[in-house]
């Protein structure tokens, strides 16, 4: 029983699809309201190259945002960990930025980025969303070092730079890695939400595909784009999970 339990999620998905398919056939639902799974599969196959390209564009913007957020959040976390006053000063702003829905600030960022450059706005908005988990994880990691290890460094007369490079940074690694894992998921969500608000200009990402199919009431194509998005996000999540596992194994030595 438990040996086959890895099949459980696939069995559930299969069951849902079968019921869905039968329900569509029996109830004769109009395709614009609820297309049958087979119709969605056909839309997926038909639009595969275009969907793959759009997925890549969304992913590229999310990754750019992740890199930008990582650099900025890492640098700020480092500064904050060195100065309690700076920590006090920055915290409320960082929290305010985190709790404000990205949709609310999107129009502002679109204006700043220039209406001709929605891609810049999308990257900036996704970076704002990805910023907080990296920042708070890094600060927590840099400031929650084993107090006895800190005492040993006192005893050994370690200089501030030695303490940072040989104690605080290495002991923060697990927190920093976890922050990036959370941020990777948020960056994708941020990119998609931002694309909805900002429009996509030349960079036609997955959100654009969803919007466009919706406007034409091509619901099967809409589903196809959503499925592509879910698959892409899942793959990114799995990759970062694997990365975290590897990083922790390296950090702990096994």
């Amino acid at each position: 029983m438990s040996r086959l339990s890895f099949l459980a999620p696939w069995a559930l998905i299969g069951a849902i699809l079968v019921v869905w398919q039968i329900a569509c056939a029996v109830l004769h639902t109009p395709e614009y309201l609820l297309p049958a799974p087979t119709a969605i599969a056909m839309a997926l196959a038909r639009n595969a190259p275009m969907l793959a390209l759009s997925a890549w564009r969304t992913l590229a913007m999310a990754l750019e945002a992740l890199v930008a957020a990582s650099l900025f959040a890492g640098l700020l976390a480092l500064m904050v960990s060195l100065s309690r006053t700076l920590d006090r000063a920055v915290r409320p702003l960082a929290v305010a930025l985190q709790v404000t829905p990205v949709v609310a600030i999107a129009p502002l960022v679109v204006i700043w980025a220039g209406v001709d450059h929605p891609d810049r706005a999308i990257v900036a908005l996704a970076a704002i969303v990805a910023f907080f988990p990296i920042f708070s994880g890094s600060v927590r990691g840099l400031t929650s070092v084993d107090p006895d290890l800190e005492r040993l460094f006192d005893l050994y007369g370690a200089r501030p730079l030695q303490r940072l490079l040989r104690l605080r940074l290495p002991s923060a690694v697990p927190f920093i890695v976890e922050g990036h894992k959370v941020a990777s998921g948020l960056a994708i969500i941020g990119a998609v939400v931002a694309e909805f608000v900002a429009g996509s200009g030349g960079a036609e990402g997955l959100a654009w595909r969803i919007l466009e199919a919706g406007n034409r009431l091509r619901t099967a194509e809409m589903f196809a784009a959503i499925v592509t998005l879910a698959l892409m996000a899942a793959v990114v999540h799995l990759l970062f999970q694997l990365l975290e596992k590897r990083a922790l194994a390296w950090w702990r030595g096994r």
Binding site: D146, D148, L152, L155, G157, A158, L167, R252, G253
Partner: protein, 249 residues
């Protein structure tokens, strides 16, 4: 005999928590082993931090003939950096004080060999058992050839057999260079086995409730735990400890 370190009528107050220690005095001679025994929260660890120079007394004074680089501390937990190999952990105090990396690592491997970890020099802390991690911690304390070694309940988290083996190893290592040792424990038998002088402390604020000299050679001869000297000392100190604890309750 000359003093390595001394606490002179020290008192330590913590804001909001009142007095933790004192008045308390301790004169530590070169090469002697002193055990501080007392219940939890009697300021034993505070006394150690004063001796290490990690904390300053509220009143009274601390004299230290041993300088910064000549003092080592071993905590109750091994306190090893998980991201460093055993060798790198042990080499850390040397590297931080400017010893070249290659030499520091080679001295670290020697120190690990002396505590019986020659086969685990490249292991990470997560791969070591509790006793092995404690040995690595001990190696890190000894690698700087300290004149003053401070041990804060170093064996408290270990099982009885490992504990006894480590106590013997520690005494053997001590006999090579004879650093002065202050050893905090709440295990009376361990204190009598290890120390030439056992000081019983009262529950917080910690004061001396009596001192017992153990006149036996160190390292201890085999079978020392079944001698009358050992049993009498354990009984005397246990009574002192019980009285001190009762008086406070």
């Amino acid at each position: 005999m000359t003093a390595v370190a001394a606490l002179i009528d020290v008192e330590v107050d913590y804001p909001g928590r009142g007095r933790a220690l004192g008045p308390f005095g301790l004169n530590l001679q070169v090469g002697e082993i002193v055990a501080l025994v007392g219940p939890s929260g009697c300021g034993k660890s505070t006394a150690l931090r004063l001796l290490a120079g990690l904390e300053a007394p509220t009143r009274g004074s601390v004299r230290r003939a041993a300088g910064r680089g000549e003092t080592s501390v071993v905590f109750q937990s091994p306190t090893l950096a998980p991201w460093l190999s055993a060798t790198a952990n042990v080499a850390l105090p040397l590297e931080l004080s400017g010893v070249a990396r290659a030499e520091a690592r080679s001295r670290a491997r020697d120190a690990l060999g002396r505590v019986g970890l020659a086969a685990a020099v490249e292991a990470r802390p997560a791969q070591l058992s509790g006793g092995m991690a404690m040995r690595a911690s001990l190696a890190r304390a000894l690698v700087t050839a300290p004149r003053l070694l401070l041990l804060d309940e170093p064996f408290a988290a270990l099982d009885e057999i490992t504990r006894r083996a480590l106590a013997d190893d520690l005494l053997n290592l001590w006999s090579e260079a004879r650093p002065a040792i202050v050893f905090v424990t709440h295990n009376v038998e361990e204190a009598v086995y290890m120390a030439g002088r056992v000081i019983v402390m009262t529950p917080g604020p910690g004061r001396s409730a009596g001192e017992t000299r153990i006149d036996a050679p160190a390292p201890r001869p085999p079978g020392f735990r079944v001698t009358a000297l050992f049993r009498d000392a354990v009984e005397t100190i246990s009574n002192q400890l019980a009285n001190a604890t009762r008086a406070a309750a």
